[in-house]
Amino acid sequence: MELHIKEISVGELLSEAKAYSEGGRHPLTAMFGRDERSAGGGFAVYAVFEFPESRELRGLKAAVGESMSFPSLSHLIPAASWFEREIQDMFGLKAENHPDPRPLVLHENFPQGVHPLRKDAPKEIEFIEGKHTHMHTVSGEGTFQVPVGPIHAGIIEPGHFRFSQAGESMLQLDAKLFYTHRGLEKTMEGKTALEVLPIVERICGACTAANTWSYCQAVETAAGTAVPRRAEILRTLVLEIERITNHVGDLGNIPAGVGFSFAVSIGTRAKEMMMRLQDSLTGNRFLRGFFVPGGTARDFTAEDCARAAEVLREVEKNVLDLARIFAQQDGFQDRVRTTGIVRNKTARDLAMVGVGARASGYAHDSRADFGYGVYPELALKVVTENSGDVAARILVRIGELKESFRLAFALMEMLGREQGGHRTELGTPQGEAAGLSESARGSSFCYVAFDNEGRLDRIFVRSASYANWPALPIAVQGDIIPDFPLINKSFELCYACLDR
């Protein structure tokens, strides 16, 4: 989709961002840096906002001068905090007056003064030993710390959590993440749109369709390529299938946080049915290879759709079973209600997305707000809850599953009526553009900028998890530490697509 950029000086950033944000009415989608020195420019800081009323993404591009710094927006827009810390790490541009200027992406093993997304950054970077990252903790009589990770007890991604405790109660949680940082944005620079596709698909295992669709939207806009209608229907259908797979997986995973293995068995079995459906429809259990710039790699036949309908009906039965079991088990309800609350104001301040936002009464949904694919024809119902707790996040998922089943059947019917191709030739991408699509966790944003030869000069990927991670330490405050796994699973935040 189009990204409307307004070029400003760094001195205007604070006032312009305030005007764009309108007190959070236009959520901050992302902030990122760029090094344009080789093209005769300098460093720039971008801040992108959503304007749902006009279905627009509008960005500010502040040219950073010799001061090599920019004013922090975090006091005004709390959602800016992690983005600004990342810009400090990756480009060496200082966020003035940042409330928490600690490094975010780069760990203590990284030498000071080296900023990997600068175009002239060295290829080989030495390991620094003996340094430690400062973690925020609470001190005082009777308080103590519980360090957890980076390696966890289960089959879980790596991250370090530092709990400050008063007895069982969590007073504060500080998280050190980016352990799986692979430097993917740098790796993708200098490659063509098609060359980086396999990497984009592997930023994260769970949101292949969403991440890749956002990327394809951005590339297609930059290339001026219009996608055939049949491809738009197929893409919308596959995105809903991916949502069903993930939500069903979460309904089977959240009960594991309270040792409710009967529900885990039903949920994991239904998820496996979906994984096999994804494999049979797209040739890959994780939907890899299906989205390509210009359309889709495959088409679905009437037989494909009939098979899919059969599986979806079976999975729907399991979802309804789970919903009934959850509602009837007092012990389970006791654990999930009033646990891990995110208030509506917090969700808006942090510009949360997806299930995390909608469970706190914040109806943020890029499908409704931006209407890409064929969503405008589907009368999408955005499901919200107001209590902001684990129970609300479960209920939102159940509500969304029912809606996604309805959408999937409507889309397959639409596919039956639609003739024509599913893929068109991609032109040469030029300039900058963005894409947005709704993963099961929330909106996934992608920014691309191409050089004159159609090679990537910069790509920035803000997954849904990136937007929601800062809410987790707030949600757990005051709850007891045995509820942490439950609260954590209720957000189902991904580390890989945050870390990149």
């Binding site: 760990h107 290829k123 089959i155 352990y179 799986t180 692979r182 592997r202 998820k271 079991i325």
Partner: protein, 177 residues
């Protein structure tokens, strides 16, 4: 609730026999020996405790490892269990390319394991870096940091292929004990 129980009792068992697609890439040992279905059959009755270590994966291998415990695959029937600590494990199952920020965690987890110990490089990234290649944030494939005993290819490997690798590892362990 009663109706639900009745329906669940009537449901057929989801757990399946282990099968492979024709021409599917199979696990192999450092000397090139390919693990076949016959070998797998002869190796039931073993025990293996596995510690997972995500050294920088995209999460897909990890999701498939999680799937191994669902009712379709039910890994426990082969005597294979996932452990919470490397101190209890026979096998370190490494997923992902080793990142700069996880190299130490991988090394220390390996060192914490009792002998005899095995390492599996699970997935293309752990074997050779996969699509990620090289970058300032990547140290390299698993064997650059710890010795690898068995490779399970795929991006990600399908759960059945992971199972074949785990059963073969259980047998390798029995030989070393």
């Amino acid at each position: 609730m009663l109706k639900l129980l009745e329906r669940l009792l009537k449901d057929k068992v989801a757990t399946e026999a282990i099968t492979f697609k024709e021409g599917e890439a199979m696990p192999y040992l450092p000397d090139g020996t390919v693990v076949t279905a016959d070998i797998i059959k002869s190796r039931l009755g073993r025990s293996l405790h596995v510690r997972h270590l995500d050294a920088g994966s995209c999460n897909a291998c990890d999701f498939e490892m999680g799937a191994l415990s669902n009712p379709y695959y039910d890994l426990h029937r082969y005597g294979i269990h996932f452990d919470a600590s490397p101190r209890h494990a026979d096998l370190l199952m490494v997923t992902g390319v080793v990142t700069r920020n996880l190299a130490e965690a991988l090394k220390r987890s390996y060192e914490a394991m009792p002998e005899p110990r095995l390492v599996m490089a699970c997935g293309d990234c752990a074997i050779n870096g996969g699509v990620y290649g090289e970058s300032y944030a990547i140290v390299g494939p698993a064997e650059k940091v710890v010795p690898v005993d068995i490779y399970v290819p795929g991006c990600p490997p399908r759960p059945n292929v992971m199972m074949a690798g785990l059963i073969a590892a259980a047998d390798m362990l029995a030989e070393r004990l």
